[in-house]
């Protein structure tokens, strides 16, 4: 059974979003996604300062099994990336909602958050997979 924390919002493409205040949102991939992908070997992150658009691919998670696009769950600007993943991509597996976070976005329009799934809806969506 995958871990789907209640306080986060989710994209149907398996990214999670956490509000950090001041319009900043942390993004990662869900426990379900990391479990499907298997051991992570490279994470290709966007650059700080990049503008990203909701639902556009902006990063790549490459596991032993497959390379998988990661989509921006909201529109905005990348303000920080998790540089630890450069040498320790396995954090995405071991702590997907904590140390395995990917990047932070300064949201352009916080109303976009409303289009994301809550924990219950996301859990339902992965049960259908």
């Amino acid at each position: 059974m995958s871990n789907v924390p209640n306080e986060l919002r989710y994209a149907s493409t398996h990214e999670w979003v956490r509000a950090e205040g001041d319009g900043i949102y942390t993004v990662g991939i869900t426990d379900h996604a990391q479990d499907l992908l298997g051991d992570m070997v490279f994470v290709d992150l966007p650059d700080v300062g990049d503008a990203v658009t909701q639902a556009d691919d902006c990063a790549v998670a490459e596991s032993v099994k497959a390379a998988s696009d990661i989509y921006a769950p909201i529109t905005g600007e990348i303000v920080e990336i998790n540089e630890q993943l450069e040498d320790s991509s396995e954090l995405v597996n071991s702590d997907p909602y904590g140390e395995g976070w990917l990047f932070k976005i300064k949201a352009e329009d916080e109303a976009e958050l409303e289009s994301l799934l809550d924990a219950e809806a996301y859990t339902n969506s992965i049960d259908e997979d």
């Binding site: 051991d39 032993v64 099994k65 390379a67 597996n93």
Partner: protein, 362 residues
Amino acid sequence: MNKTPLHAAHLESNAKMVDFFGWDMPINYGSQIEEHHAVRQDAGMFDVSHMTIVDVIGADAKAYLRFLLANDVAKLEQKGKALYSGMINEDGGVVDDLIVYHFDQTNYRLVVNSATKEKDLNWLNKVANGFDVSIQERTEFAMIAVQGPNAKAKAGSLFSAAQQEAVADMKPFFGVQAEDLFIATTGYTGEAGYEIMVPIARAHDFWNELLQAGVKPCGLGARDTLRLEAGMNLYGQDMDESVSPLAANMGWTITWEPSDRDFMGRSVLEQQKAQGTEKLVGLVFRDKGVLRAGLSVKTADGEGKITSGTFSPTLGFSIAMARVPAGEGAKPGATAQVEMRKKWVEVEVVKPSFVRNGKSVL
């Protein structure tokens, strides 16, 4: 779905199970990369009970195998000595690859792949026509591969005094029946270790005792990255019936002399050799990204394809085997291009062998 005698043991160790050609097998027990490192640095074990064990017994056993196999069992003189070979069809393609153990000239044991079991048994029986041999599948064993620098010591702690004595001076690529176990110094990882055939009734206990001896259970995921680092082919991926062994880095397994030995596929292989074939080479990509099976490759001589590719946990970058046109572009040190995620990237051509005994051989 088929289950091996160790199926329950896998579930007890929280394995993630997958359908492997009709067998419910462990892909990993949590982390494929940790399992890989366990084999390179300590000791890991694999359930390979799904593989097919076939005994070839009879007055014509040696003559039959000299006709069946491209490698020559006449090279096997010592009791228990093993040989790797391909079975080649009339068209010069690979029916399967296997290991044959020699006990005496009337008694041999083959271990063939599981995915090709039915086809292999049909082929063995078809080629046996006219030879005085019996071909008997041995279904009463489970098989466990224990691999890694500490594998022999840890597995050996389970052996009886007689079994320890039987394997004490055994060189690589030998097998011996010692009391209830058949113990062989073979493997598919590039590390030292044993492949052990154990009676089904004892298999689960034996597995648990290996666990207690500190041997880490490893799944098919790690098995694939280990064999690829070691430069070992996987049937169905790096070669199959449509591929010449000469185009699959198996030229060394074809014994051409004596020239009057007739074996299946010989005349076609001779033509292929005279005409030249594609080559199976190694590729190395040291940047971010993983070479994967099916990706297109360009060399100085034309286009080819990656047959197996992965991230190498031991090396920390990606490696692959690729079938490419023969020529300068297939030689170690050449540069090739691979189409990865819609971009062409430069890779280095190397001999198809990357890691042996825990160390890079690049």
